[in-house]
Amino acid sequence: MAEDGINSFMTGPDDKGRFGQFGGRFVSETLMPLILELEERYEHAKTDPTFWAEMDWLWQHYVGRPSPLYYAERLTEALGGAKIYLKRDELNHTGAHKINNVLGQIILARRMGKTRIIAETGAGQHGVATATVCAKFGLQCVVYMGAHDVERQAPNVFRMKLLGATVVPVTSGRGTLKDAMNDALRDWVTNVRDTFYCIGTVAGPHPYPAMVRDFQSIIGKEVRWQLAEQEGAGRLPDTLIAAIGGGSNAMGLFYPFLDDPTVNIIGVEAGGRGVDDRMEHCASLTGGRPGVLHGNRTYLLQDDDGQILEGYSISAGLDYPGIGPEHAWLHDIGRAQYVSITDKEALEAFQLSCKLEGIIPALEPAHALAHVMKIAPTLPREHIIVMNMCGRGDKDIVTVAKHLGFDMKV
């Protein structure tokens, strides 16, 4: 275990970009030199104080960090068990945790002399964050978005356009997030010299899973000192809970606590209409098996012949048939636990957060909250849960209204 100082859960990935058997660099030869260059430049930036000084300044003055760690008193009372804190990353500029990572990648892109930024997006939050930072720095921005998601996340499409980005609706495959990622990779293979691919989650070929995790780790680092400030020096959370699409907000919260053995770690996958063989869910760990897609080996939803399946979730941000390789590894070694929450449970949690805390959550963290609702009542009052409220729900209002039978007349 970690406390003997020899073994640590925080040393990955290895020099082949692996977390155990997961991760790696499964890309075409055209992209290989590009990701090797990116790795070299990132390794350099990581230890460059001027890089982090630039990040810190922007995090504070542009994003609004640190985000509050908020004791959700009425929620705690209503559930009648564990003490619940919400990490308020939904208060970030652009409304989700996605911008934490985008800033890091765009600063790196600028240092590498890249002038054109491409991104994939599902819910549109990563696309909006990328378009925002590109606008700020005067960079060209092209966002690939599944045609189906363009429809269900219309407000974010308009935001990206206002911010000067080109939004490309992706119709290849079935027109969802995984197809958007395919088309972004196709763009990158075609525009190798001037283009930087800004990936929105802890997936893709090495070094992306590690790099995105490092940028998102600001979440967990803040939680550490903020909780100590509110609960007394040295007090660690007992349980961490976060929703998982690709797994970036979760990795950001979990990573700084991996070597603290008293901290329970729970990732919440999208259970859609239920995790069974109808495959109407996006729970890659609970309902998938290892495979290779988008540059890395991880758990994937796939058929017996290794063809990738389309997941389903009410939440566009969780609608991805894979999961970051570091989560796959944490799952296999048992350091973190992964559960799933259905659409219906997430919708209930969504409403509870609105009513009890005055916080309209995104549907993604509503999944995390639904699991909090399940376990908090079973835990003692001294038990502290920190949940990542990683996005706000403005983008989901139309979807939720539809499910609750409310006519928005839009």
Binding site: K16, R25, S28, T30, M32, G173, N182, G306, I308
Partner: protein, 263 residues
């Protein structure tokens, strides 16, 4: 020595360029694609590159993406693709066959089982787009040990420093991708490709075959002329997509093969 090695040795002895034709297994259906495959040697094809359909073909343009979708919608499986090769081998024991595709269906079947089945079906080589040299332990080295060629792509981004890494465990031939881009994109000019091919040939004795973007007999002749041969994929697949008969597709293929062989 595989059928691929033998074929290129024979072409070299005759002073001829090679013509490699790509088609997607199971497109538009298994029977039609087998008939096209069986007609290819007669149309002048030296090496058949048989696509294995995959849901997420990240290096392919729309033409080959859609061919894969048609095959999958028709129920094509990896087993059916292997069966197709075995059926082809019943009447043709010399034309080299290279399977081309993505790693996940192979990984899902299990590498050892896949290699044994592929060898038994009569496959000679593999091109697996998402396995760069950095992942050689996965399939490349086991494939070579099983007696299959592992053909690697070299690209315009493969610089001098990296080229030895790319060539190291490559066998059969080197597939030079003449553009940065996906299959079906615009062709490169032969004059621009020539120095790149010369750079690779200076570093290896393997034949260098150039592909991506070749559509006409003239393109085929020009590109084959500056290398050891050329590959045509999307242009053939587009004929199949347009609903042409087997004979029409093969006539089109013959035009390309004649172009390459006239170089």
């Amino acid at each position: 020595m595989t059928r691929i090695d033998a074929k290129f040795a024979a072409l070299r002895a005759e002073g001829k360029k090679g013509f490699v034709a790509y088609m997607m297994a199971g497109d538009p259906d298994m029977a039609t694609s087998l008939a096209i495959m069986q007609g290819m040697p007669g149309a002048g094809v030296d090496v058949i590159e048989l696509g294995m359909p995959f849901t997420d073909p990240m290096a392919d343009g729309p033409t080959i993406q859609l061919a894969g979708q048609r095959a999958l919608e028709g129920g094509q499986t990896l087993q059916m693709t292997l069966d197709m090769v075995a059926a082809f081998r019943a009447t043709d024991t010399t034309t080299p066959i290279v399977l081309m595709g993505y790693y996940n269906p192979i990984y899902s079947r299990g590498v050892d089982r896949f290699l044994a089945d592929a060898k038994a079906a009569g496959i000679d080589g593999l091109i697996v787009v998402d396995l760069p040299p950095e992942e050689d332990d996965e399939l490349c080295l086991p494939a070579q040990a099983a007696g299959l060629n592992f053909i690697r792509l070299a690209t315009p981004t493969t610089d001098a420093k990296r080229l030895p890494t790319v060539l190291q465990n490559t066998s059969g031939f080197v597939y030079y991708v003449s553009i940065t881009g996906i299959t079906g994109a615009a062709a490169a000019e032969a004059a621009h490709v020539a120095p790149e091919v010369a750079r690779i040939k200076a570093a290896t004795d393997l034949p260098v075959i150039v592909g991506f973007g070749i559509r006409t007999p003239d393109n085929a002749r020009d590109i084959a002329g500056i290398a050891d041969g050329c590959v045509v994929g999307s242009a053939i697949v587009a004929e199949i997509a347009a609903g042409k008969s087997v004979d029409q597709v093969l006539a089109f293929v013959k035009g390309l093969a004649d172009g390459a062989h006239s170089a």
